[in-house]
Symmetry: C3
Subunit: 252 residues, 3 copies
């Protein structure tokens, strides 16, 4: 059982960071197709599904399917010394240790026993009636603007408009994006769900400004936020549970 | 009673920041001429007089004179999302709420009841014998240099020289600016007053490096520091009470 | 007894900072050759030998040998207001006060009585069998990479290779530099010593990326790290005691 790969340092950093926004330790599945992981945050409010096809690597060899466990923060710390353009060589035998060569340094990282890491959560099968595609930059700015007035944000659609609102105790903000400001919108009904800005802020940091971001929404249903990394060879999908308005909650 | 205006985001940020250095909540007077406010800091040591003529706005309409109250920090927080070149549209009916449109976002901000905000302080009528005009950059650097050695700074004049000194327990600093280094100086007598660097540091952050700054001084009298913002259409004047040397104070 | 000198602000900042990484107060010796100091850090683990020849100054006059004592942090604070290209004029009579003119400001700094400052430590006479010369950038990166995994670093040589390793509880890193990656290496035997990364991190901040850095090493002996500043007119030498592995220490 052995794994060997070469990848651009910037691409690998982007991949790791998109997951580490939500979780500290992951099980990474490695097979002939590439690498992938599914993790839930400790509070079970959000999930991140990550895939990177072998085409996203400069070299990629694995002799049989394997699962390795590691601490994302330790890995990020080590990668922080590498420059974006550097090349990373990874190698693991038997899954106890990961050897990383980068920028002239030769690291040996102890891997975690995958059985000690949280079980892969089951990804719920959701039928979400609204699909919105927009520039990453728009979602990032909307999250930042909403944070200024509230801890929660409402995503809704109305007649092919995507509407983002946040309402605080004193102030509120609203952004309406019509078809001309979106890349695409398809809705079979008007939808509306409320989400925690804490989670959305973490997630939106991984969305590149220029990237196409897909959002799938329902009413009082989780949101799926999906975008590509590493030149279309990688895919990140976040799933975030809605905040259900209780009687005691002021309606945003 | 309604107010509507358009203004460049950078100009509006500069205006708000020049006041928020000293106070958190203000009463803003709006009339056919433009907007203005007069506020004192909570300790009553400093005042800020602010005016922005309607010519500093791209559009400006008010049907009758009105006074609105607001929290400067909340406004700054919201403006932090805007880019310098963005355009801000403001609108208020009846003075309960301010609507701000900027960068595609539509904010509603609750206004404060002006009667709950500190009364406008009376601006003292001072006859200050020395008038100095100099580049903003010089006053900013003098304040920074003085902070390195003391908590107080002395502004004085002697024979058409403007002299800035600060004396700490161990170290001291002195800067002498003669007519060739000043834009202008007019004095009818030599003057000397001591001021708190805490206040001067806050004030000097609003002075643009290249702007003409006017200083009016007396002996053991307040200083007036005056400069234009928004291309000569706005004016900020700070007034700072002197620190009177007591018997027990080491003479700086 | 008087001293007068002019020097570029950036050069003087670099000089002061190379010493202040390790000590707060120094005795500076001034004579016809230039200025120099020898200091040990408070824990007596590291020493810094500093020399700047009079050729590194634009002007330099001293009538008789003198020693002045000063607080490096106060001096750095004052220099922080100067721009890199500014010129500093220093002047001291009798060694009680240092006058510094820079960027239009005239500072008077109280000097410390040299007799109150730590005695100059005796520099040990060491015969270190390995001499390595390499680019400053390589040593800086090696220190940063090692800090990610451990608190200690091992410098060793083997057959004309310079090897840097750091071993943490879980992870390790190794960098091997052969003759082609070094400017020079001369060894009469293989050597190996362990050093604290806390000290090395402070020291390496003063090493310019492009500068030639000389390292002299033995086995369980102090390391000497030596580099020039101010265009070859100044020299900084750090000496750092090794950490001797006790029985209870895991061998790195």
């Amino acid at each position: 059982m052995s794994f060997e790969a070469k990848i651009n340092a910037g691409s690998f950093k982007d991949s790791i960071e998109s997951i580490s926004r939500l979780v500290d330790e992951i099980k990474l599945n490695i097979n002939q197709e590439g690498i992938s992981s599914v993790s839930a945050d400790p509070a079970n409010v959000a999930m991140v599904m990550f895939k990177l096809k072998k085409e996203g690597f400069e070299e990629f060899h694995v002799d049989e399917e394997m699962t390795i466990g590691f601490d994302l923060n330790r890995l990020e710390d080590i990668l922080s010394v590498a420059s974006m353009g550097d090349e990373i060589e990874m190698q693991s035998e038997e899954g106890n240790q990961l050897s990383i060569k980068v920028s002239g340094f030769d690291y040996k990282i102890s891997l975690l026993d995958p059985s000690t890491i949280q079980q892969e959560p089951k990804v719920p099968d959701l039928d979400l009636p609204a699909r919105i595609v927009l520039e990453g930059n728009k979602i990032r700015k909307a999250v930042r603007a909403s944070e200024k007035v509230s801890d929660y944000l409402v995503f809704s659609t109305k007649d092919d408009k995507f509407i983002i609102t946040a309402e605080g105790d004193n102030d509120s903000v609203k952004m309406e994006l019509d078809e001309s400001q979106l890349i695409n919108i398809e809705t079979s009904e008007d939808v509306r769900s409320i989400f925690s800005l804490d989670y959305l802020a973490d997630m939106s940091k991984s969305i590149k400004k220029a990237s196409e971001t897909k959002i799938r929404l329902g009413t009082d249903y989780p949101v799926k936020i999906n975008f590509n990394i590493v030149d279309e060879n990688g895919e990140v999908e976040y799933l975030l549970a809605p905040r259900i308005e209780s009687e005691s909650t002021t309606s945003p």
